[in-house]
Amino acid sequence: MHELGIAMRIAEITAEVAKREGVRKVTEVNVDIGVLAGIVPDLLESSFEMATKDTWLEKTRLNIHLIPATAMCLMCKKQFAPDGFLTVCPGCNAFECEIVRGKELSVKSLLSEDSRE
């Protein structure tokens, strides 16, 4: 259950960016999570609620954008959707494959309400 630590880091990044940009209210945080990043989306959502409870980010919504996995065969260069981390090429049956997409774990953008208006 490392999602709480990840959620706390997302809250920290949000605070850093908001401070830098002079923003007082962040309504939404958009995060990219690859399906092979080792994160359970539901757990990350509830962890984010826990991490931001009673803070200025309490009402901030976490939007999780799931990124599907892509693997590439190093032998025949075929790209395919792997079965989790099972990366056996469906074209030539080679084991020599690499995950090229699906391990993302990043804060993509923030949406803020400009409270100075």
């Binding site: 080792g38 804060v107 993509k108 949406l111």
Partner: protein, 225 residues
Amino acid sequence: MCETCGCNQKEMVVAEDVLGKNNRMAAENKALFNSKKILALNMMGSPGSGKTTFIIRTIEALKSETDIYVIEGDQFGSLDSDRISKTGAHVEQINTGNGCHLDAMGVSNAVKKLNPSKNALLIIENVGNLVCPALFNLGEHQRVVVFSVTEGDDKPIKYAPMFHEATHCIINKTDLMDFVPFDLNAAIRNLEKINHKLQVFSVSALKGTNMAAWIDSLKKALGKL
């Protein structure tokens, strides 16, 4: 103000890796290890897979050739660091409390306390857990996952991220292979499906059998630094 609809919302592009802070610290650790020609291993695996016994065997085989330092990660207590201290290796215990893995900052602090000498071997025993430690880079050169025959030959498939991120895999407790339904060939094939680059060693750390190939690979890696 938003140019599309006139609302007072503003979108800010961030594009920051959530693990970036840990990865930057890990890079600092690795730079320090490289500058002192220290070989750093991150040992991971389930609780009870035999990591500590395997580390002790490794220390016994190499302590006459190089200085060895161990960072011991456990949720609570110092049982493992007490065992390792008896080999003469320098040990620093990290208790993570409710934390389920070590991170690069904790390792950095422990390294400062240990102050390892040049050309040393640094073994980091992660918290016993086949899931979370896979995500956190510590600055190691080798990621070693220890799994034992009593856990079953299907573990690489069931806990794929750990085996996918590892560089070396130790199949441990081979002395028990006659007593449990473990198919060594099936295990190796499962490992290949998850990670074709993985270097695999089958040993019994308790009996000290078949350790030579692993020890030789470490000697070679130490010589290359």
